[in-house]
């Protein structure tokens, strides 16, 4: 949940990158860390295994400067994607303000995408919130593999599988090349901050 510190005129919010294992969540954050050094408010911390799979989470704090006289800070997190880390995903998801769902475009990962989205939906439900109420952006990652002749799902198919009801904005991406990563995070930030602005008005 976003924190508003009226005394310091500071807003801090939390965005979580979700998705199945090996879909590119950490790669997204690594690209953001490398590219937006001026906005990065600290180090990127990864709690991962020796095999470079995210074990607990990745964490990246960012400062977005002032908006309407308030310092806006964002904490980006990723969750571990493997099935056995379900309880950790739930912990990291607590009090999330915005979501990026990173889907793997590989044909062989179709079912994993859907199971991961279902897992997200259930974890949000367990916190008394709905996937329809949290600002959400879909990213269809690994689109660059099409050039290598690897079977990918079409964007239409992925949208049908994952986004038919949610109708969230979606972006094609190749996180390893940095394509689509900035657009994804910008849209997510925009939606998250608009949502927070609404909440702030209600709080007043």
């Amino acid at each position: 949940m976003a924190t508003f510190n009226f005394k310091k005129r500071e807003i801090e919010c939390k965005i979580v990158y979700y998705g199945p294992g090996r879909c590119g969540k950490t790669t997204n954050l690594e690209y953001i860390f490398k590219t937006y050094k001026k906005q990065i408010a600290g180090e990127m911390v990864s709690i991962d295994t020796e095999g470079d799979r995210t074990l607990f989470f990745d964490f990246l704090p960012m400062g977005l400067g002032k908006i309407k006289g308030c310092d806006v800070k964002v904490q980006l997190y990723t969750v571990p994607g493997q099935v056995q880390y379900s309880s950790t995903r739930k912990l990291v998801l607590k009090e999330v303000d915005g979501l990026v769902f990173v889907a793997d475009s590989l044909e062989v990962r179709r079912e994993k995408n859907m199971l991961s989205l279902k897992d997200l939906h259930e974890n949000l439900k367990s916190y008394g919130t709905s996937i329809f109420k949290v600002p959400l952006v879909m990213q269809y990652n690994k689109r660059d593999l099409e050039e290598e002749g690897i079977p990918l799902m079409s964007i239409e198919r992925m949208d049908q599988d994952l986004n038919r009801q949610l109708k969230a904005p979606h972006f094609s991406a190749s996180a390893i090349k940095g394509q689509g990563v900035p657009q994804t995070i910008m849209e997510c930030l925009k939606r998250t901050l608009l949502n927070l602005q609404k909440q702030l008005k209600w709080a007043k």
Binding site: V45, G51, D52, R53, Q84, Y85, L91, R109, E122
Partner: protein, 342 residues
């Protein structure tokens, strides 16, 4: 196989599959890589025209053996290993709640966050420090024994409690609450262990005072006669996230099967996890008679819910049934049930 694969020349199919397998392996998609290697091997075996087919199969077999080793390593790795002090500090900072809470509540939340991330040694040290604080003593104690239970050190949990029973910091009512909690957990785990109970003692001086009181004065009851009071506990005493609906902690359920060859029979299952009014069970794949009767949408009108403090009757509905595709429970089934009434 799709149509494109059927039309492709076997050599081209093999090249394509091996390319995919290598890519999936580089991506860390080990099961997918293994599956592609297997397909390639099958095509080679069925294609006598392929030159050096046997050598190619031998080379693929070697890759699959390597893959299997990596897959086993991942499956056997503990899901919550101990991390460095710095990372533990970060976990505390990020997951322990805001600054507006009091010191002790924040400290308790921080320790709980560490325990939830499997950093039990560090968490226990922090809980130990909180035993000195009256307001959070019981919560800290329950979480210490919980840490022992999570690390399967049940005897250590019992010994911990017995050490506190001799510790003046703990009052009888506080010990009762902890004992009740611990006994419930032991019962669920089938661990038979009697726990020491400190008796209320009355000094000689107090005895004299009592004799001087009127005959109508009540004598204090011992803790054995009195169920633990239900005074509200700090919300964060349990490691589980606080549930808004205040659902009971359900350890296991009994389900009377509505149909089939086991109709009318009450079968008991352990609850793997619970969120609010939704519980999850794991059913072994060999239990086909059970699995056939429990599908998504099946209404269960006769259920029993076993918690540490009560057995309740109620009903539920199966909301999901999925086969587990990897890990130690591969092949078994995960069943979600929503509790409708209790």
């Amino acid at each position: 196989m799709n149509n494109d694969e059927v039309l492709m020349d076997p050599k081209d199919q093999i090249i394509s599959l091996l390319k995919e397998a290598d890519l999936y392996q580089n991506q860390g998609l080990l099961n997918e890589a293994k599956e592609r290697f297997k397909k390639a091997t099958d095509i080679i075996k069925n294609s006598p025209d392929i030159k050096n087919g046997q050598a190619l199969i031998a080379s693929i077999v070697k890759k699959v053996v390597d893959l299997n080793q990596k897959i086993n390593q991942i499956n056997q790795a503990t899901s919550k290993p101990t991390v460095s002090d710095n990372k533990q500090n970060l976990i505390k900072k990020l997951f322990a709640g805001g600054d507006e809470k009091g010191d002790f509540t924040s400290a308790l939340e921080g320790a709980i966050a560490l325990a939830k991330f499997g950093q039990f040694d560090r968490a226990m040290k922090e809980f130990e420090q909180l035993l000195d604080v009256e307001a959070v003593r019981v919560a800290a104690a329950k979480n210490i024994v919980r840490c022992h239970i999570e690390t399967e050190a049940l005897e250590a949990a019992a010994l911990c409690f017995e050490k506190w029973a001799g510790d003046d910091r703990f009052s009888i009512p506080q010990l009762d609450k902890i004992r009740f909690f611990l006994e419930g957990r032991f019962r669920k785990l089938g661990f038979e262990r009697e726990l020491y109970q400190r008796e209320e003692t009355i000094s000689d001086e107090d005895m004299e005072t009592l004799e001087m009181e009127s005959a109508s004065a009540e004598t204090p009851q011992t803790s054995r006669d009195v169920a633990p009071s239900h005074d509200p506990e700090p919300v964060l005493e349990e490691m589980e996230l606080p549930e808004e609906d205040e659902f009971l902690d359900i350890n296991s359920v009994g389900i009377q099967l509505p149909s089939g060859p086991l109709k009318g029979r009450m079968v008991e299952f352990d609850v793997s996890f619970q969120t609010g009014n939704s519980i999850n069970l794991i059913i072994a794949s060999k239990e086909s008679a059970l699995l056939n009767e429990l599908s998504k949408g099946t209404k269960l009108t006769d259920m029993q819910f076993f918690s540490p403090i009560a057995i309740l009757n109620g009903s539920g509905v199966v909301t999901a049934k999925t086969q587990i595709k990897s890990g130690p429970k591969e092949g078994d089934y995960s069943l979600d049930i929503t509790i409708l009434t209790t």
